[in-house]
Symmetry: D2
Subunit: 371 residues, 4 copies
C-alpha cells in the first residue's frame, strides 16, 4: 500500500480485518507500506500490521512478491503511480478521486483497459458503495421495488470549515486539492446516485461558492491567503433516462458532521439513506394500501443483507471502516475469480467528467452543460 | 369571504376559532360567504358559520357593514376582486399566489400602497409564517442565535401526482393554474426562506420538468391531454447578502405528503424545520462545547412560544389549520392598531418575481437570471 | 356543559367545530355553560360560543330544552351531577376520571345501565381514543395485522413538576385530586392499552413514589406542606389472555412534555405510538421478508384513516383538540342512532378498579393484586 | 483466550484491533486460543489471529508466557476456569454473567480480591460500558449536567424468539442457561443503569413470564419440550438514594433487534440512549430558557468524546465490536498501570444478586425483595 495518512489507516484496517470475517478463497498478506518519512512509515507499518515499510514506491511496484498495489496518496500522484503499477502487471486499487484532472483519469482508464487484457484488475475506491444499506438500496432498485426512478435528491453535508479563523489547509488550495467540497465529497454523492439507480448523469447546471474567501495562513496568524476552491457546490443533473436530480456538497452545513443523504423517488416507491445512520435504510412502498403506507426504517443488520452474513447477529451495528473490509473482500474475490471488480477506472473517469461539467457550468453562469 | 373551496374551509375555521382563543380587541363577525352556486354556498355558509351567503362578490364589496374582504378564489380572479375591494375601502386578505402574473400582482401592489394612505390594510395569505415553529425560527435568526446565515436548503415535497393514470386536473393546465409545483408549493418555500432569514432572493438558476407529460382527460378514460405545467422545479438562489440556497418543489416525492423543509446554516448554529412535524424545530448551537453539540428537537408548544399563550399546556400539539386562526388574529389586530399587516402585497409580488425568474432561467438553459 | 376550566375550553372547541366538519344527522346547539362565578362564566360562554351561562347546574339539568349534559368539573363532583342528569333523562358525557372513588363510579355505572333502558346514553371522556392514529391501531389489531398480542409497554411521561420550588397545587393533595400521576395520566395509558388490544387488565403489581415530598404552600413562600399523592407510578399488569404489560405514569420525566407512548408486540407484528407525534403510527410486519422488515412511520392523515375524511388533504396535521370534535361527533351520532357510545361508564369504572388495585398493591409491598 | 463461539470472535477482534488504534504502553500478543474441538479451534485461531490453538485450558493457564486469561466460555464453566487462572497468578477477563449462581460469583469475587493483593487484576466483560455514548452519559451525570437523578427507565428489547416454531435451543433451558432474557440481556440493562448513575440497586419487585411455554425439540420436529427460562422480565428497582427505575428484558419485542434503551431523568436535565443508534446520545438541559429546551441528539463521534481520539474524524460511526477494542485497551492499560480495571468481579456479583432478587420476587407474587 502506498500512502500513510488517514485513508491509509482505514485501508489498512480493511485489509487486516477482511480475512478474519470473510472467506477470501486463500490467504492475503499485508506485505509493504510505502510512505514519505522512513521512521513514521515504519511506525505506521508496525501499528497497522504491514510486514515491511519503505519510501520508494517504484521499488515496491518492481517487487515480484507483490500482487496488489493500493494507492492512498493525494490525488495529484494517483496517475503516475497507477500507470506504473498497471504497466508492471499489478492489480490496482486507487482511492478516489481517480485523478485531479480528466486528462489523467482518461489516461489511467485506457491503461486499465489495456491491462485488463492481460488479466490485470483495477478498481477505484468509492467505498460507500459497500455500506450494506447502500448495496441493499441498489438491489431494491434493480428488483423494481420502487418502480421507475422519477427523481433523485443527493447531498453530502459536513461542517468542519464553519470556523472562519481556521487556517488555510492544503485542501482549500486548488493547486493541491484540485477542487473543494465538489470533488472531495460531492464525488461520493454522484457515485452513489449513479450506482443505486444504475443510470448515468448526462448533463448538469451548477453553482459553486467560496463562503469564506480568505483564511489565516497559520492558526491564529495575522497573514491571510485566498481560499481557491469551492466551499459549497449546488447542481442539478439530468440522468440518462431523462429524470432530474438535485445535488449539494458543502463543508458549511452547521451541525451535519458526515451526512451523505440520498433520496430516490420512483413510480412505485422510494428510498432514503443517511450516512449518519448508516445501518438504516428507508423504504416506502406506494403499492401498499393507502392507509398502511409509510417510510419503513429497515435496520440493515440482518444476516440476509449484503455483507452481513459475515458479521454479528441482527441489530448489532457496523461502523465506518467496515466498508473497507468489504472493499478488500470484493477486490480479492474478483481477482481470484478472474473478473473485473467495480467500480472500474472508467466509472471513476465518468465521475470526474461530471465534476468538470459542474465547474464549467458554474464558470458559465450556471448554463446547462453536457457531460 | 369570497370563495368556497378547500381553502375556504380553512379560512372559515380560522375566522371562527380565532376569537375564542385570542383577544382581538373587539368582536369579529362572519358576515357573508360568496360563492358561485347559490345552494352550495348557502350550505357552506351554514356549515362554516357565516351569517349570510350570496353569489355576487361586487354586491358584497358594496356593503357598508363589511370591513374585511377575504379572497380565496382561484388565482386568476384575485386581481379583479382585490382591486375592487381596495377601491371600495375594504381591508383585503388575499390568498397566495397574489395573482397569476407579475403584471397583475404589480398592479395590486400599487393599489394596496395607495389604499394604505387611507388606512386600508392588505395582506397576502402565506399562512405557514404563522406556524409557531416558523415564527420561532425567525425570532432566533433575528436574535443572532445562528450567527450570519451561510446557506439555505428548502424543499416542498408532495406525492399526490405519482399515479400516472390520474386524470388531467385543472391544476395541471397552465391556462388555469398559471404554473405547477413551482407556483403552488414552491412559492411557500420561497416565502418562508425569505421570511426566516429576513433576506431577499436576487438571482436564480432553475430547471423545470413535467415528469408525466400527458394524462387521461377523465378518470379511466382513453383520451389523453398534455400536462402544461411543471411537476418538479429545482433551482438555486442567491440572497441579498450573497449566500446561496437550494430549492425544490415537487409533487412526485413518493412518500412525502406535505413535507416543507427548511434548513438554515449559520456561522454560529443552524435551524431545521419540516411541516410534517410542524410542532418541532431543530436548533444547533455551534458555540456550545464540541462534545455537547447536537441538533435539539424543540417542542414548540411552550406558552412562551409564538401564539402558544392562547392554546394548550406544553406538549399539546397544534395542527394545520391553527395557522389560519393566527392569520386572522394578526390581521385584525393590525387593522385595529392602524398598522400594516405582513406579508404585504409587495412581498407577494416579490415572490411572484422570483417564480417568474425561475421560469425564465429554465426556458434559457438554466442560465443565471436576476430577479 | 358544566365546568369552565381548561377542559371546558377543549370540550367547547369540540362542540363548536364538530358540526362544521362532520355530518351529525342534524343540528347541535350549544345551549348553556354552567360555572361557579357568574361573571367569569358569562365571559367564557361568550368566548366559547355558548348561548347562555349560569351558575346552577341543578336548574340546567331541569331544563327541557337540554338533551346532553357534558360534565367537565373536578372529579369529586362527577357522581352527584351525573346521577342527577341521568335521573332527569339527560344523555351524559362525563370527563375522566369517572369519579374519585370506585364506590361512586360503581353507582354511576348502575345508574347509566338503568337509564339505558329508557334510551338515555352515557359516555366517559377518554378522548385519546379519538386520535386517528390510536383508532387506526385498534383497527389493525382487530384485523389481525400484528397477530396475537404478546406484550404491551405503556407510559405517560410529563415533566411539569420537576421544579422543587413550585408550590403545592390542589392536584398534589389527595383530598382534592384523589391520586397523582397514576389517576391523572396513568388512567389514559390504561384505557388506551385496553382499547387498542381489546383486552382487560386483570391483575397488577405496582409501586408509587412521591419524589418531592413537600412543597411551599405558596409560590416563593417559606411554609411547606406535604405532597400527598404519587409523583410516579410504575406497575406491571396481566391482561385477560395472560400476557403482561408494563406501565409508567410520571410528572418527573424531564424533557417529556406530553409523551403518552404505547408499544404493542404481537406474534406477527408490532405497533408504536407517541402522543408527542400524534399524527404518526409505527407499524412493524414480521411476515414480510426478513431483509425488508422495519418499523413503518405511517402519517395518519390519509382520507381513508379514521375521522380523516372530514379534515384536510393527506399530510396536513391534526392537533390536540381535534379529539374533542371526534368525541362530540361520536356521541351525537350514537344518540341519534339509538346506540350506546363508547367508552361506557362501565369502562370508566373498570379503569378506576385498575387504579385502585395498583394503589393496594403499592400499599402492600408491590404484591400481586387482582383487579 | 478460552472459548471459541460468537463472543470469541468479538473478543478476538478487540484484541487484534486495539493495538492498531490505541497506545497500550507496549505490545500485546495473541498467544493461544483454547476450544473444545482441535480442528475447529485451530481454524478459528488462524482466522482470528491467535498464534497457537489448543483444547486444554488447564495447560494454557500453566504456561508462563501467558499473562492474561480471557474467558468467553458458557457461564457454567466461568467459576472453575477463573479460580484456577487467578490461583495461577493470571490476570482474568471474564465474560458476563460472572457465573450462573450467586454462590459461584461470590467465590470468584473473594478469589479476585485475594489475588489483587499480589497485583493480579480481574475484570468482568460488561462491554456496553465502553460504547462512547454510554461513557459520555456517565461523565455527564458525574459532572452534574442532569442534576440529581430522579428516575430511570431501562429496557433491553430483542425479538429473535417471536417465531413459535423455532426449536428449543440451549438458551431456553434453565440447566444450561441459568436464566432467560433476565440474565442474558437484563443484566446489561442493570449494569448500565448502575454504571451511568453511579448508584446501586437495593430492592426490586419483579414478574417473569415464559411467553411460548414449549417448543419443538428440533427444527420442524413434532416432539416438544418445555421452555424453562423466562422470555420476558419486568421489574421495578429502588436505587440507593431512593429513586425508582423500571426495567424490562424481552426477546419478544417484535421489530426491536438489539434495542438497549436507557433514559435517566434528573432535576436539571435528562439523558436518553438506544443501542440501535449507538453513536448518539440524547441530552436535555432544563436550565436553558423554556423556549429553547429540547432533547439534543449528540453524535458521539467527536475526537473529544471518550475513546474517539483513536478513531475517525467527527461523524464517522463506530459499530458493535469497537467496544471490545475499548475493553482490551482499558484492561491492558490498568494492568500496566498497576490499577484495578472496572467492572470488578464484585460489580459482576452485585448484578447477579439483583438478578436473583428479581427471580425471588417473581416466585413470591412480585413482593418487594431486598437485594
Amino acid at each position: 500500500m502506498i500512502g500513510a495518512g488517514f485513508m491509509g489507516a482505514a485501508h489498512s484496517q480493511g485489509w487486516r480485518v477482511a480475512p478474519s470475517f470473510f472467506d477470501l478463497n486463500g490467504p492475503v498478506e499485508m506485505a509493504l507500506l510505502v510512505g514519505r518519512d522512513p521512521e513514521k512509515t515504519a511506525a505506521a507499518a508496525e501499528q497497522w500490521g504491514w510486514a515491511e515499510s519503505g519510501v520508494d514506491w517504484r521499488a515496491a511496484i518492481a517487487r515480484e512478491d507483490i500482487d496488489i498495489v493500493d494507492i492512498v496518496t493525494p490525488g495529484d500522484s494517483h496517475a503516475e503511480i497507477a500507470l506504473a503499477a498497471l504497466a508492471a502487471g499489478k492489480h490496482v486499487l486507487c482511492e478516489k478521486p481517480l485523478a485531479n484532472t480528466v486528462a489523467e483519469a482518461a489516461e489511467m482508464t485506457r491503461a486499465a483497459e489495456r491491462a485488463e487484457a492481460a488479466g490485470v484488475r483495477s478498481m477505484v475506491g468509492f467505498t460507500y458503495r459497500r455500506v450494506p444499506a447502500v448495496a441493499l438500496a441498489r438491489e431494491l432498485v434493480r428488483a423494481g421495488r420502487i418502480g421507475t426512478v422519477r427523481q433523485v435528491r443527493a447531498s453530502y453535508l459536513q461542517d468542519w470549515l464553519t470556523e472562519e479563523s481556521d487556517p488555510l489547509a492544503w485542501r482549500l488550495q486548488r493547486e493541491h486539492a484540485g477542487s473543494g467540497a465538489l470533488g472531495d465529497i460531492g464525488a461520493h454523492a454522484i457515485d452513489l446516485a449513479q450506482y443505486i439507480t444504475g443510470d448515468q448523469i448526462e448533463g448538469v447546471s451548477g453553482t459553486l461558492q467560496t463562503i469564506v474567501p480568505e483564511r489565516p495562513l497559520t492558526a491564529g496568524g495575522s497573514h491571510y491567503g485566498p481560499v481557491t476552491v469551492d466551499d459549497l457546490a449546488l447542481f442539478t443533473a439530468r440522468f440518462g433516462p431523462g429524470y432530474l436530480g438535485s445535488f449539494e456538497a458543502t463543508r458549511f452545513a452547521t451541525g451535519r458532521k458526515n451526512s451523505l443523504r440520498i433520496e430516490i423517488a420512483g413510480s412505485r416507491g422510494a428510498l432514503s439513506f443517511d450516512l449518519e445512520s448508516l445501518n438504516e435504510l428507508g423504504l416506502y412502498d406506494s403499492t401498499e394500501p393507502a392507509t398502511e403506507q409509510g417510510f419503513k426504517r429497515i435496520m440493515v443488520t440482518d444476516p440476509g443483507h449484503p455483507y452481513l452474513e459475515a458479521w454479528w447477529p441482527a441489530g448489532h451495528l457496523l461502523g465506518y471502516e467496515h466498508g473497507f473490509s468489504h472493499q478488500a473482500r470484493d477486490l480479492v474475490l474478483a481477482i481470484r475469480a478472474g473478473e473485473n471488480p467495480a467500480p472500474s477506472f472508467a466509472e471513476g473517469l465518468r465521475v470526474q467528467r461530471v465534476l468538470t461539467a459542474v465547474e464549467e457550468s458554474a464558470d458559465n453562469g450556471s448554463a446547462w452543460t453536457t457531460v
